[in-house]
Amino acid sequence: MIEKALKGGRGYWAWIIFLLAIMGMGGMFYVQQYNYGLGITGMSRDVTWGVYISQFTFLVGVAAGGLMLVLPYYIHHYKDFGRITILGEFMAIAAVIMCLMFILADLGQPIRALNVLLHPTPHSMLFWDMIVLNGYLFLNVVCGWAVLHAEYKGVKYAKWVKYLIYLSIPWAVSIHTVTAFLYCGLPGRHFWLTAILAPRFLASAFAAGPSLLLLVALIMEKTTKFRVGQVAKDKLVTIIGYAALLNFFFVGCEFFVAYYSQIPGHMHTLDYLFWGLTHDGHTYNNLVPFMRASMILGLGAIPLIFIARARQSTGLLALSCIILFVALWIDKGLGLVLGGFVPSMMEGVTEYYPSVQELGITAAVWATGFFVLTLLYKIAIEVKLEQEG
């Protein structure tokens, strides 16, 4: 099947070369970081995690979002998702690969990464995160490939695959739950210390993952003969819309608890993210425009995506997917992780600005993800089109 990724038109190759160029640029920045140390990033003693870990957190959600396609198809036999389930699984592969790369990029001693296996530590949530992420990658590679290969051969997939697919469903929930547990089990970080963090992560994941998938599917409909099917697209809109609503409901719950209880520790980070925080006569508010935009865009995208469906407007549908994805990316890929470090444990405020090298490496990891995604999707739709002949 791999040969299908080696044949393509000019647009395909231009896209591949574009991604490879970004990857190469990021690779060079990584050499710099490797030689100098993580001090080359914008991270500091007070803000010890930056864009790497926040991208990782967001992308775990994108990976888990594949569940929203696999579950209806395999458990509820929702046939209309038959053409895109594989896209969900392949998106999960690309997203988990990005997650693992972001973790590696963030390690001070990446060469020692395997110490996590050498000294297994069940009381550390990072140990469990390593297990669930790699397990999820394995499950999606095996299931996705086995199902597609069977289709390629024109036969039904083997029975054992089905059990692995069933396993992958709760596993998808576990990856984002454990990722939330990295944060919400830490005493002293009030912003993260909330039982609703894992549910909120899942809700935003089930909106962000499928909206990226729908967007990519729309692009493929435009550039190839592949068709998702109207019913599947409409159903995706339902999933995305409700998941996004749930996410904002959870965000609202956070606001209520913080501001009704008036407990300073619970309010500080939200103050910082949405209004700015004053400390020693200086106002810190570098994330305020982003967080406000995230809120407005996200809440605006929900009615928009339903309007797009009602009007059967592809352009509006694509636009609302982009807006929602960006809104959720800001919320989780920016505010959630960075906000947790403000105020610091010594009640100070240190703001974080990523460095050029850091942004370059981040872009390269994203490019790698899209590279993997492109190859896998190319193979998948070629096989599908061939079978439908």
Partner: protein
């Protein structure tokens, strides 16, 4: 129908096994901390109640802030003693900063002690801040490689050679006690000045990409010496160090004779540091 019943029994059986296993699994998760109640034994109600401290030797420290106020040169002396012995680099900027012990403001160290009528004198007080060597250390719980671990005598120690530099411990520590080597501490700045002024050959320097913090001077305790910062305070009594579980130790006597406070006690970390304000 029969099939259904069999399926149900299977599920019920599995659920029962899981139910029996869950408490012990949870205890494994919090290994060595025994926070989750054992089978049948109920947890203590109300966290205001004093719980029985673990027995055996447990190093602890009382910091008498009054003495630091009376001797304004003491904080710098303590910091210098610690940082020179432990080869703590000075990068000259807050972003890369590494510190094991430092004086900080009252409101930064004790943020929960806030009220309208806080005494003026508190604002200028230098509160010495260092690792609390918690009895239930969140950093140890978070570390994925056991590179940071609690020793039998209560010291929370670091293995710099095992640390992968994930900085999970730094996110987990509620006291801001941990620092990361953002760049090579053995290196030099643009003007050729080394970050470690004079290397103490008796203590290892660290490498780039690992976390470090106060180690309660384990290397000195091992040869019967007291921590360097305590030694630096001389006879002032500004810092008293000893075995908290030994009734006759000086630290126990100071603790029984004075009202002391701890940092963020509501988090349940049970620090080994006590403050007399």
């Amino acid at each position: 129908m029969k099939q259904d019943r069999r399926d149900f029994l299977k599920v019920a059986g599995l659920a029962a096994i899981a139910g029996i296993g869950a408490p012990s699994a949870f205890n494994t998760l919090l290994k060595g901390e025994a926070t989750a109640s054992e089978h049948g034994a109920a947890a203590e109600a109300g966290h205001g109640e004093a719980i029985a401290a673990p027995t055996g030797k447990r190093w602890g420290m009382v910091i008498d802030v009054r003495k630091f106020v009376a001797n304004p040169d003491l904080p710098a002396k303590c910091v210098e003693a610690c940082h020179s012995i432990h080869n703590v680099p000075n990068f000259g900027n807050p972003k890369d900063e590494i510190k094991w012990i430092w004086p900080d403001k009252f409101e930064a160290v004790f943020p929960d002690e806030s009220h309208y009528k806080r005494h003026e004198a508190l604002h200028a007080m230098p509160i010495m801040t260092l690792c609390n060597h918690c009895d239930k250390p969140p950093c140890v719980r978070a570390c994925p490689t056991q590179a940071t671990f609690k020793m039998k005598d209560g010291v929370v120690a670091m293995d710099y050679h095992r640390c992968i530099g994930c900085r999970f411990c730094m996110a987990a520590c509620p006291y801001g006690a941990r620092s990361f080597n953002w760049r090579d501490p053995r290196g030099k700045d643009e003007n050729g000045n080394p970050f470690i002024k004079t290397v103490n050959p008796k203590f290892p320097t660290r490498m780039r990409g690992v976390v470090e913090k106060c180690n309660f001077c384990v290397e000195r305790l091992a040869i019967g010496q007291i921590p360097a910062c305590v030694e630096a305070t001389g006879t002032t009594g500004a810092m008293v160090f000893g075995d908290l579980n030994d009734q006759n130790s000086e630290v126990s006597k100071v603790l029984s004779a004075n009202f002391t406070i701890q940092r963020k006690p509501s988090l349940g970390t049970y620090p080994s540091l006590f403050y007399i304000i």
